[in-house]
Amino acid sequence: MSYLPYALAVWIFAVGLYGVVRSRNLVHLVVCLSVAQSSTYVLLLSIGYVNRGTAPIFADVPKGTRAVDPVVQALTLTDVVVSVTVAALLLALAIQAQRHADTTDPDELSEMHG
């Protein structure tokens, strides 16, 4: 098993995080957050991967067939649901920011500080 998928997951996460830190637009920020989130799918799936394993569906296959780990796939699905919820909520907040504060720049929204 190579280290490449893990390095890829870290890279995607770092790129997304950089975007979140530097973002001047809420929609752009949400997209960056989604990029960072997708790194967890890569990590989870590569952890459960088995060389030459099939999909973990155990109907009509001989006993002892190599299959990838179904647990991480369930975790990934749950994670997808969670990230979609968060992204939807944040995009709704971005719309409200444009409507009521007339800006989508997080820097200009900072009314409270100190």
Partner: protein, 592 residues
């Protein structure tokens, strides 16, 4: 046993029923459903607490019990410390619903639905014995909290608070998930006890250190430890009062409780040789958090933001308490969390009464207006003294256990620092150059005519205060808490109980005599808090020299500290990344 899933099921079913039928039934039906569900959940949590006094209640969903000592299913693991926090969540939620009855002039069904789902998620998170299940409830809790903070969405402050809260906590949750994935990759297990057994007898390696640092970061972001705390003051200052009560009283503490919950069953074996360095890291960041929270609270004018920083300061105390890694300190911290949660909840409600009657939450503009809400004044006085640790009320048994435990492990310097954090936070300044004037809220609740606050407003505030302050008088509480914490920390017995159903040996309740030191520190923090409060109120009457010199000396660092709290989410995420790297680096350097 059948009771266990009810703490999650009752609020979820009530929320689903309200979603389906709420808009046809009218506001009061929503309120009553909310109160009824919260009361029922509190009763069930309390029953679970009483039934788990001698052994854990383990509930395997769908009957998937462990086979041959290997956990297959997902478990709720109820022991008294977690059940106590779940009961606190239910009680605070009940008080919030009662308060909301008169506090909001208009509120939609969605508010009640979100609050109930939030309660279900907190209970599930507190009782879950499975790492990924914890993550799911963690995220459910987060999403409800984001939406509740941004409930008054047409104003700018809630918008900013909700965005900062959502983005930082989502990044924290991502790190948490990274940690969970790495732990699963290493052990092939998600059950906490099973993870602990899989790691048995191996030295910690790099992967495990990274995974533990990531898990720790995820939970500390939720708790609001420095430098992960920036979102907390923005979110709590902008949330509606009934939401603040629950956020500040329970949610922050749940993050810390989770640290103990993953450390003892899963990692205490593999990191046993490194407990000393882990203790130094956790206590150090706890002290930093307590001092930063206390100092920032000192500079606030907006009462809600002030209480938010007080919350951060107290998170620091809890982190230091849990970080001492002794049974006494863990039991003490849990008692502290319970008393403190009730008192802080009562204080937030008192601020709510002021907001409702004086239409203002700015302490300088409020000065001399105490007559509009005398009951709020009483609540403030009680709450302030309760949080200051006045012996023998409220938080005293908890802090006494922590103080004695700090002495036991050679951390005798800890109590004075924590006492300083407490009294700094409850002291106050009225120097406008140091404090930032809060924006006047665009839409305050309507003013209620009449001299007397309605009982539905001050009743919950006083009830929470009385419970919080009176909790200390339960006989033998300190000893019982120590006993529960010993059971919590006994990893081999816990693993055997969870995976093989071996009942733990009945243990005697250790007696606890606080001795003199806790009384001294309690008196110091109380006198210090009262002194600082008077200093803030009457500083103009002091001689000029006494007034100016401390002001000049502190103005520079104070301005810098305040400038860090910039309100910009990018900065917060940058600090989060720095904190995670620092935590991981420190662990990597000290664990061998």
């Amino acid at each position: 046993m059948v009771l266990v899933p009810l703490v999650v099921a009752i609020p979820l079913v009530a929320a689903a029923a309200l979603t389906a039928m709420g808009q046809f039934l009218g506001r009061r039906v929503d309120d009553l459903t909310g109160i009824a569900a919260a009361v029922a959940t509190t009763v069930v949590s309390t029953m679970l607490l009483l039934r788990s006094l001698d052994h854990d209640l383990v509930y395997w969903f769908g009957g998937w019990t462990p086979r041959h000592g290997i956990a297959l299913g997902i478990a709720f693991d109820v022991e008294p410390l977690s059940a106590g926090i779940a009961a606190l969540a239910g009680a605070l939620m009940t008080a919030s619903f009662v308060f909301a009855w008169r506090y909001f002039d208009e509120v939609g069904t969605l508010f009640h639905v979100l609050m109930l789902v939030f309660l279900a998620a907190m209970n599930g998170f507190a009782l879950s014995g499975d790492l990924f299940n914890m993550f799911v409830f963690f995220e459910l809790m987060s999403v409800c909290a984001f939406a509740l903070v941004g409930y008054a969405i047409e104003q700018r402050a809630p918008l900013q608070g909700a965005i900062n809260f959502a983005v930082t906590n989502t990044v924290g949750a991502l790190l948490l998930l990274f940690g969970i994935a790495l732990v699963y990759g290493r052990t092939g297990a998600l059950n906490l006890a099973q993870i602990g057994r899989a790691l048995d007898g191996r030295p910690p390696d790099g992967l495990l250190v990274v995974a533990f640092a990531l898990l720790l970061t995820g939970f500390l972001v939720k708790a609001g430890a420095v430098p992960f705390h920036f979102w907390l003051s923005d979110a709590y200052a902008a949330a509606p009062i009934p939401v603040c009560v629950v956020l500040s009283g329970v949610m922050s503490d749940l993050g810390l409780h989770a640290v103990a919950r993953i450390y003892w069953p899963s990692f205490s074996g593999v990191f046993a040789a490194d407990a000393g360095s882990l203790r130094a890291i956790l206590v150090g960041s706890g002290v930093l958090t307590a001092l930063v929270g206390g100092t920032m609270a000192f500079f606030q004018r907006d009462l809600k933001r002030l209480l938010a920083f007080v919350t951060i300061g107290h998170v620091g105390i809890f982190l230091a308490g849990i970080g001492l890694l002794t049974a006494r300190a863990l039991g003490g911290t849990t008692l502290y969390v319970l008393a403190d949660g009730f008192v802080k909840g009562g204080l937030f409600l008192a601020v709510g009464i002021l907001l409702r009657r004086a239409r203002d939450g700015d302490e300088l503009r409020l000065r001399g207006q105490g007559g509009v809400a005398p009951m709020a004044g009483v609540a403030f006085l009680l709450g302030g003294l309760g949080l200051a640790g006045l012996p023998p009320f409220g938080t005293f048994p908890g802090s006494a256990l922590i103080i004695r435990s700090a002495g036991d492990v050679g951390y005798g310097w800890l109590p004075p620092l924590l006492a300083a954090g407490i009294f700094l936070g409850l002291g106050d300044t009225d120097d406008p150059s140091l404090s930032h004037e809060p924006p006047a809220a665009e839409e305050e609740p309507a003013h209620v005519p009449g001299r007397v606050s309605p009982p539905l407003l001050f009743g919950p505030a006083l009830a929470l205060m009385v419970v919080g302050l009176g909790l200390a008088f339960t006989p033998g509480l300190a000893g019982r808490a120590t006993q529960w914490a010993q059971r919590f920390e006994d990893r081999p017995a816990h693993t055997a109980e969870l995976l093989r159903g071996v009942a733990p040996r009945p243990a005697g309740t250790p007696a606890f005599h606080p001795g003199a030191a806790p009384y001294v520190y309690g008196a110091i923090s109380t006198v210090g808090a009262v002194g600082f409060a008077f200093f803030g109120l009457y500083r103009r009457r002091l001689p000029a020299l006494l007034r100016r010199v401390p002001g000049r000396l502190t103005a520079g660092p104070a301005a810098q500290l305040k400038a860090l709290h910039s309100g910009v989410v990018g900065d917060y995420v940058a600090w989060l990344t720095f904190g995670a790297a620092a935590l991981g680096g420190l662990l990597a350097l000290t664990v061998r």
